[in-house]
């Protein structure tokens, strides 16, 4: 599941340029269907274009691929996403 989520976000992330060496972190809250409810930037990369493109990727990836079983929701209702572009 984590891999599926990672893949889905990567697929929706259009890197606006080469920002290797920088990283930006988000705390993301989702509902039981995987819909992104809120995205909070917990650490900026210092580059607004990278920060915004990463945030866009999370929104565009919504709803995230979620396991059908309700009991996993406890582990998945909140994530950290760290975007760390490699060249």
């Amino acid at each position: 599941m984590a891999w599926a989520i990672k893949e889905q976000v990567e697929k929706n992330w259009s890197e606006p340029g080469d920002f290797s060496g920088l990283s930006v972190a988000f705390l993301v809250k989702v509902d039981r269907q995987g819909n992104v409810l809120s995205v909070k930037m917990t650490r900026s990369s210092g580059n607004a274009r990278l920060d915004e493109s990463a945030e866009n990727a999370i929104f565009k990836a919504s709803p995230l691929p979620f396991p059908g079983e309700a009991r996993f929701y406890e582990y998945l209702k909140e994530f950290n996403f760290v975007f760390k572009p490699e060249s």
């Binding site: 599941m1 990672k6 890197e15 340029g17 994530f79 950290n80 996403f81 760390k84 572009p85 490699e86």
Partner: protein, 448 residues
């Protein structure tokens, strides 16, 4: 969680639980403790999805120019954007007050371009445009221009430049000019050469020189965009010479008189010197000429062919083509002369090199051997690596855009020469619509 609980979960789910455990053990700074951390290292290289709505026309008859079309073509050609098809648009707003951001999130646009053209008087138009951030629901740029009909293409390129900068952080280079040579063979079998200047997309072409049966090649812009240096022949008895032409007045002169021939002009970044190739008594070497002083300084002295000089952006070095080790390869020499250092070792031959505006990359014509022909490559002097960007068999004359994001070059379509643009990462290639016959030798000006 207990170990009993973990073992009760099977297969993929077990793997997932492990990731959760690992993630919780190594929490990166700036992330919330207790939550799963997913690291994203690779994005899609397909470009930023952007929606450009056809500009709304307020006037009589048809709009004088398709501004949306020009902007979309510019952005697409750069390779940095994915233009979403207008057929998918749920609405056609022309300014921010008409925008329902949700419509654009549904088609996964990250940015939205809206605008209008208003007829204000005879041959007077007002263009307004806005670049909108779809997810943060805000205006990134709003601009207004007043222009005559024949200035509208330039307005569109300026809009493209602004969007390119806002989205990538790199200065746009659409509102710039290029030079190239067109050749046509007449019914009388004469070869007519035209030196042309056009917008960066090949439109608005203007002839600045026409010769019959006297070849024209290697145009080079002065850094201030006022002069073109090029190679031509004054008659059928003299060898090639380098000419200087003032593009606003049309006046031209040979840069100097040589005992032999001169070619391959390259302006120094300060515009004060021209590096060029002089062939005298069968030996071809590189010289530096003071443009106003007329003073000549010899840079290389080797019995082999040394040609195609190009300056590094800081003016300290020149790269050039030499066959001193058999096949043509790229060498580098200090602007003060001295020993030349070989740069390219990969491939069968490399030629026609020039630097990007920063000085990190060198674009060149490369032949990888095994009958592969000639393609455009980007060579990284630091690592010695070459990325081949094109797949023609006779691609040549590569020239970086002034922002280093694109490369213009000459290629063949059938037997006809055409100009093509490739994004510096090689992902997007597009032939420019130039219809002047057999077209070659593009040179991208540093400014408009």
């Amino acid at each position: 969680m207990t170990s009993k609980k973990v073992t009760s979960i099977k297969g993929v789910q077990y793997a997932f639980m492990l990731i959760v455990v690992v993630a919780m053990a190594t929490i990166p700074p700036g992330t919330a403790a207790g939550a799963l951390t997913i690291e994203i290292t690779q994005g899609e290289k397909s470009g930023i999805p952007i929606a450009a709505v056809p500009f709304r026309w307020h006037g009589t008859g048809n709009p004088p120019e398709n501004l949306r079309g020009i902007v979309a073509a510019d952005l697409h050609r750069s390779g940095r954007f994915e233009l979403l098809p207008p057929a998918d648009f749920l609405s056609r707003p022309s300014e921010v007050s008409e925008v329902r951001y949700k419509d654009w999130r549904l088609i996964k646009a990250e940015a939205l371009v809206v605008g209008r053209i208003t007829e204000k008087g005879p041959d007077r138009f007002e263009v307004s445009f806005q670049l909108l951030d779809v997810y943060r629901e805000r205006v990134k740029v709003a601009l207004r221009y007043t222009a005559s009909a024949d200035q509208l293409r330039q307005v569109a390129h300026q809009i493209s430049d602004r969007i390119f900068y806002e989205m990538t952080g790199i200065k746009g280079a659409f509102d710039t000019r290029i030079a190239y040579v067109a050749m046509n063979i007449t019914e009388e079998n004469d070869r007519v050469y035209q030196l042309m200047i056009a917008d960066s997309d090949g439109h608005n072409a203007q002839q600045i020189l026409k010769t019959t049966n006297l070849p024209v090649l290697s145009p080079a812009w002065s850094p201030n965009g006022q002069w073109l240096a090029y190679v031509s022949f004054s008659d059928n008895r003299s060898g090639a010479n380098v000419w200087l032409q003032d593009i606003s007045t049309g006046s031209r002169r040979p840069v100097a008189r040589f005992d032999g021939s001169a070619s391959a002009p390259a302006w120094s970044p300060d515009g004060k010197s021209l590096a060029l190739t002089v062939s005298a008594k069968g030996n071809t070497d590189i010289y530096v000429l003071g443009v106003s002083s007329g003073e000549m300084r010899r840079l290389t002295k080797h019995p082999a062919i040394d040609t195609e000089p190009a300056w590094s952006p800081d003016g300290r070095y020149l790269v050039f083509t030499s066959d001193r080790n058999g096949r043509p390869h790229i060498y580098r020499v200090s602007r003060n002369g001295g020993k030349a250092e070989r740069l390219t070792r990969e491939g069968k031959e490399n030629a026609g090199a020039s630097y990007d505006p920063i000085g990190n990359r060198i674009v060149l014509v490369t032949n990888r051997g095994q009958g592969a022909g000639y393609q455009i490559g980007v060579f990284y002097p630091e690592s010695g690596r070459t990325d081949v960007l094109t797949d023609g068999t006779l691609d040549e004359s590569p020239t970086f855009s002034p922002n280093g994001a694109m490369i213009l070059y000459a290629t063949r379509m059938g037997s006809e020469g055409v100009l093509a643009a490739v994004s510096a990462d090689g992902r997007v290639r597009q032939v420019l619509k130039v219809t002047d016959g057999d077209v070659r030798e593009p040179a991208w000006a540093a400014s408009r």
